[in-house]
Every structure is written in structure tokens, then in C-alpha cells.
């Protein structure tokens, strides 16, 4: 596991959160296997990993919906491991459909305040204010079934924030939404989180979501922490082969003397670390070509296997079935491979040395 450099975070209201040697077992299955992780006050940390890696278990242990087999959960330096969920002072946004269906948006937002015996006038004021914050000031009287999925999740965010929690927990809040709404709401969550300065744990299996929204990303695999770092660090300097594979796309390229050479030492190179059309490059044929806007992703067949290359979209790029020369590291020097890796991927240290 690699830890990281400082990340810029807001700290208006945030508190520190810490998992200490947290374990959660179900029979012989270890959902979490000694997780130790600290969230800094006011930061947004994305817990990233594949299905079943234990990320939701960690979040539920923090929320108080589950009890660890061993280990401790601390919020603001206080051990809350045995504290009931209702008394943990956390706000949570669930994956989907968690709004109370018989209540309007405003009533949903005000629910936590009602439980805290806040008066009706203050509840209404706070609910209106938060619905404005999430851009739904006009929808306070709407019921959940009258709103889109994105609107419902905005209300859920406002509801979680209404009680001014110490920690905000987001359990894959975007996964049930379509792509366009997902990006909008992702940015909205980040904007609100920064404005509130609240310590936030964002659980997701979507690496692009995690890299885009988080101050730091913690990658989890099989109940264990693989790496925690800024999005740039995790992408460019994966600490383990799992992180390199899970975060971004990786080519396994045999390299000798700085050139792609069959039988050479295997290096890991991001698609943007390879180029096509290099005159004396490796012979290749375009298998698929996918236009992604600024770049076009080419899958090439070569004598060293299939390679993925992201080329700047431009006229004259080889089409499907075309022969081409390359792929080729953007530079053939060892030093420059490392430099290029800084733009894409630095292979695990042991493979460089």
C-alpha cells in the first residue's frame, strides 16, 4: 500500500474519520480484512473497487448499520464502533429509491430535523434553503414518484445535509442514473461538498467517477486496501498490479532497449503512452476504432498481442482493417518511457529497475 501527498481540501465543518484495523467476516468470508484508513477533515475520499471488494461494508460500518468483527471506527477522534446509527451524526445518500414515498421533497428534507424536534417554521426554512442549494427550489411540494431519478438523488443529498452531519456518506449515489445526469449530479455533489466543507466518503465502482470527484482515492480489493492517494497519483503511480489494471486501461508491453520487442521485459503502458504511424514501428492491424471525441481509441493486433492506443482524433488515422506501423512508445528511450509514464502510467517500481 502506498500513502500519499497532501491534497487540497475544504475544512469548514469537517471532522477526521478513521478506520482502525477493521475486520468484518461473514462465516469464512472476509468482507473487510484489516482496513486502516483515515479521512482528513473536510476532504472527499472515494472508496473505489470492484463489486464485493468490501467498500459498501466499510461505509455501512461507518454509518452504524453493521458491526465490525474487530477493529474501531472513529469520528472526530471519538470511538463510535458501538454507537447506534441514529446517534452517529452522519448523513447518507443511498444508491437509489431511498426517499420516503409518502412525503413530499420538502418533507423528506425536513425529516431529520423533525426527528430532532426542530420546530415547523425552522424545518421549512432549512428544507427550502437546501432544496435551493441542490437546484430544486421549485419542487418542494413534489412527491418522489413525480420526480426523475436525478432529482430524487438531489433531494436525498439535501435530506442528508439538512441535519448538518459531521460526515457525509455516499453509497454509489450515481449508479442508477443515466450518463448525462450522472456527470451533472457528480459535479453538483462536489460543489455542495466543497461549499459545506463536510468530510465525505464516496463509495463507487466507477473509476472515472472516483478520479473526477475525489480529493483522494482509496482502492480496495478483496477487503484490503491496495492504495490511497490523489487521483493523479493513483492513475500515474499505481502501487500494485491490481490498481494498474483496475484504474484506467493498461497495455502489457514487452520492451527491450526502449523499443517494443517480442520477448522483452514486460512493462505496463497506458493507451495514451503509445503512438501509431511511427515509420519504423511494429507492424499492426487495426481491429477496432472508437471515436471518443478528442481521442480515438484503437485496438491493434500485433505480434506481441492486442494493444490499446489512444490517438488524437484527426483525419488520416488508420481505419478498421488498415495495416499501420506501430504501436510504439511515444519515445524509444528508457528515460522517456518513464517521462511518458508520468502522463499515463509509471509501471510498478520493481519492473522499472
Amino acid at each position: 500500500m502506498t500513502s500519499t501527498a497532501d491534497a487540497p481540501v475544504a475544512t469548514e465543518r469537517g471532522v477526521a474519520v478513521e478506520f482502525r484495523e477493521l475486520r468484518r467476516s461473514y462465516g469464512n468470508t472476509h468482507a473487510l480484512d484489516g482496513l486502516s484508513l483515515a479521512l482528513r477533515p473536510g476532504e472527499l475520499l472515494a472508496l473505489l473497487g470492484p463489486s464485493g471488494c468490501g467498500k459498501t461494508t466499510a461505509l455501512r460500518l461507518l454509518a452504524g448499520f453493521d458491526t465490525p468483527t474487530s477493529g474501531e471506527v472513529l469520528i472526530g477522534g471519538r470511538d463510535v464502533t458501538g454507537v447506534p446509527a441514529a446517534k452517529r451524526d452522519t448523513g447518507m445518500v443511498f444508491q437509489a429509491y431511498s426517499l420516503f414515498p409518502t412525503m413530499t421533497a420538502a418533507e423528506n428534507v425536513a425529516f431529520g430535523l423533525r426527528m430532532r424536534k426542530v420546530g415547523p417554521a425552522e424545518r421549512k426554512r432549512r428544507a427550502d434553503e437546501l432544496l435551493q442549494v441542490v437546484g430544486l427550489g421549485e419542487r418542494g411540494g413534489s412527491y418522489p414518484h413525480e420526480m426523475s431519478g436525478g432529482q430524487q438523488q438531489r433531494v436525498a443529498l439535501a435530506r442528508a445535509l439538512a441535519v448538518s452531519p459531521s460526515v457525509l456518506l455516499l453509497d454509489e449515489p450515481l449508479s442508477a442514473l443515466d450518463a448525462r445526469v450522472r456527470v451533472q449530479l457528480r459535479d453538483e455533489i462536489r460543489r455542495v461538498q466543497l461549499a459545506e466543507g463536510i468530510t465525505t466518503l464516496f463509495v463507487t465502482h466507477d473509476q472515472s467517477e472516483a478520479l473526477a470527484v475525489a480529493d483522494r482515492v482509496a482502492v480496495l480489493n478483496a477487503g484490503k486496501l491496495e492504495q490511497v492517494g490523489t487521483p493523479q497519483e493513483v492513475y500515474a503511480h499505481p502501487a500494485t498490479p491490481f490498481v494498474a489494471e483496475f484504474v484506467g486501461t493498461t497495455n502489457h508491453v514487452p520492451v527491450a532497449d526502449g523499443r517494443i520487442t517480442p520477448g522483452g521485459e514486460t512493462r505496463q503502458v497506458r493507451p495514451e503512452g503509445l503512438a501509431v504511424g511511427v515509420p519504423d514501428g511494429l507492424a499492426a492491424t487495426v481491429l477496432t476504432s472508437t471515436f471518443l471525441g478528442p481521442v480515438t481509441r484503437l485496438v491493434l493486433t500485433t505480434e506481441v498481442g492486442e494493444l490499446v492506443v489512444d490517438a488524437t482524433s484527426r483525419p488520416g488515422l488508420p481505419a478498421i482493417g488498415d495495416p499501420t506501423r506501430s504501436p510504439w512508445p511515444r519515445s524509444d528511450s528508457r528515460t522517456q518511457i518513464q517521462r511518458l509514464a508520468g502522463n499515463g502510467l509509471r509501471p510498478p517500481r520493481e519492473s522499472l529497475e
Binding site: A63, A86, T90, F100, T102, R114
Partner: protein, 300 residues
């Protein structure tokens, strides 16, 4: 290629399902069933209720069916018996269903209760009446057992052929019917509602009061109405248990139609049947309204 691209595609909401006469023909047996077993008897009841024995049109039968003291008493007894057993059955059935669901999903308890409910909900009529007579009659097994431990049911005023005894017997099939009806609604309560409420500081009671019960209310109300209708129309159990000693609408109808008490009351009996149809229709409309409301909450 360009022609294909330019060809306007019908928007999905304007696509009409094609009508197939073959498929419509498949409905004929069901329509025939409705006409013969629902439409025909209904027509017979309504036409008989609105005519004299000689076939002349009249409203006298309907007037008599709601103004005669003996029929009013039957109405009141039926309404009270149905309402009380529906409420008791609904409350106990809902608690039982929730208790079962709290256990392991598809565990043995859940499967046993589910199967038993399916059987017991339809265990009515003469067999049920005799089962209760054998258990709680004056010389019944349960009565004897209770007497042995110092509880003399009949000394306390209980009688199996009283309204209380009849109500107890009805509850026997009302509770399992409620379990069948309310279980899907209870299963529809999403775990994240409870967790969200808990996360926002709600106690278990606050969750039930503010979140779960409002969601369940339409389904609970609808199921209670079905239980009401179920008890209101029950005939064989009441007749076998009380031999008509308690005035109830179904037994009053039977007496009027058979001329057991008074001669030439057949058309009044049909008018009583018409009154019963109206009550059941109101119950069904209420049920449909509540079902629609329940479906709205689940149309997430």
C-alpha cells in the same frame, strides 16, 4: 443507406399495439363464464328485487329490505360482525406476517406460515363450524381443558353459537387471509427506508409511525376491506354454527328465499341480495381506490 436514415421512425408513444382477433377469441370462455355466473345471477337478483311475485315492477321489496326491523337487525349484525372480525383479523394477520418476515427469508418458518395461510384462509364453511364446535362447544376439547385448569368459558357467558363465538370462528380464516394479502406490501418496504430513517435519527417506533405505516396504509386498508367482504358474504359457517339463531344478512336471505319464516318473501330475499351486492360493490370500489394509491408508492 441515406433513405434508411431519412425514413421517419414512429415515436414509441405513438406505436399502437396490434389488435388480434385470434387473441380476442381466446377471451371468449372467460366472457362466457362472467355472463353465466356473474351477469345472469345479477340480472336475476335485480329483476326479482324490482318486481312483485306476479312480475309487476315495484320498489316495495327494496323498501322492505331496509325498513323491516328484522332485516335491519340482520344488517347491523352482519356489519358489526364483518367489521370487527376484519379489524381483528387485519391487525393480528399483519403482526403475524411482519413477525414471519423478520425471520430468515424463505426460511422454514416463513414457508410453513405461508403454506398454512394458503390452506386455512379457505378453510371455512361447515367443516370449520364443526371444528370449532368440537373445540369450543359446551363439551368441546378446548372447553374441557380450560375447565380443567380452572377457566369455565361457559360459566363466563361464552357460547359458541353467539355473535362472539361466530366472530372467533371467522377470525380463524380472516387472520391467514390477511397474512396472504399483506405480505407482498410488507415485503415492499425497502430496507433503505429504514436505514435512511435511522441515519436521520429516527427510532424504530418513529420509522414505523412516519415512514412504514403511511406506506402500508393503503394496502392495509384495502386488505381490511377484502376481509370485511369475506366475512359479510360468509354463509355456510354462520348457518352451521348458529342454525340461523343470530340474524345475519346471508342467513336472512336464505330464509326469505326458502320461505322458512314467512311465505311469499322470495322477492324481498332478492332485494336483500341486491342490498348485499351494493355493499360488496362499495367495498370493491374502496379496495380498488386504495390499491391504486398503494401502487403509486411502489411506482418508484
Amino acid at each position: 443507406m441515406s433513405e434508411l436514415l431519412e425514413a421517419p421512425a414512429a415515436p414509441p408513444d405513438r406505436v399502437r399495439p396490434t389488435r388480434s382477433w385470434g387473441a380476442a377469441l381466446g377471451l371468449l370462455p372467460f366472457v362466457g363464464y362472467l355472463v353465466v355466473f356473474l351477469g345472469g345471477p345479477l340480472f336475476f337478483v335485480i329483476s326479482g328485487a324490482l318486481s312483485t311475485p306476479e312480475g309487476q315492477p315495484t320498489l316495495d321489496n327494496l323498501v322492505a329490505s331496509v325498513t323491516s326491523p328484522q332485516y335491519q337487525a340482520a344488517f347491523v349484525s352482519s356489519l358489526v360482525l364483518s367489521a370487527v372480525t376484519a379489524l381483528v383479523g387485519a391487525v393480528f394477520g399483519a403482526f403475524l406476517a411482519q413477525a414471519v418476515l423478520t425471520g430468515r427469508r424463505d426460511g422454514p418458518l416463513q414457508r410453513i406460515v405461508s403454506t398454512a395461510s394458503g390452506v386455512l384462509a379457505y378453510f371455512g364453511g361447515v367443516p370449520l363450524a364443526f371444528a370449532f364446535i368440537a373445540a369450543l362447544g359446551q363439551t368441546g376439547l378446548a372447553t374441557a381443558f380450560l375447565r380443567g385448569v380452572g377457566v369455565d368459558l361457559y360459566g363466563l357467558g361464552f357460547r359458541i353459537d353467539s355473535l362472539t363465538g361466530l366472530g372467533l370462528t371467522y377470525v380463524y380464516f380472516q387472520v391467514p387471509l390477511m397474512v396472504i394479502l399483506i405480505t407482498p406490501a410488507l415485503e415492499g418496504l425497502l430496507p433503505q427506508w429504514r436505514e435512511a430513517a435511522e441515519n436521520l435519527g429516527a427510532s424504530a417506533w418513529a420509522y414505523w409511525r412516519h415512514v412504514a405505516l403511511p406506506v402500508l396504509a393503503p394496502a392495509f386498508g384495502g386488505a381490511t376491506l377484502v376481509l370485511f367482504g369475506n366475512a359479510f358474504a360468509a354463509y355456510a359457517t354462520a348457518l352451521a354454527l348458529t342454525s340461523g339463531s343470530i340474524p345475519l344478512l346471508p342467513t336472512a336471505i336464505a330464509s326469505a328465499l326458502s320461505g322458512n319464516v314467512l311465505a311469499n318473501q322470495q322477492n324481498v330475499g332478492l332485494a336483500l341480495g341486491f342490498d348485499m351486492v351494493v355493499v360488496i360493490a362499495v367495498v370493491m370500489v374502496g379496495y380498488l381506490v386504495l390499491q391504486r394509491r398503494a401502487a403509486r408508492w411502489s411506482a418508484r
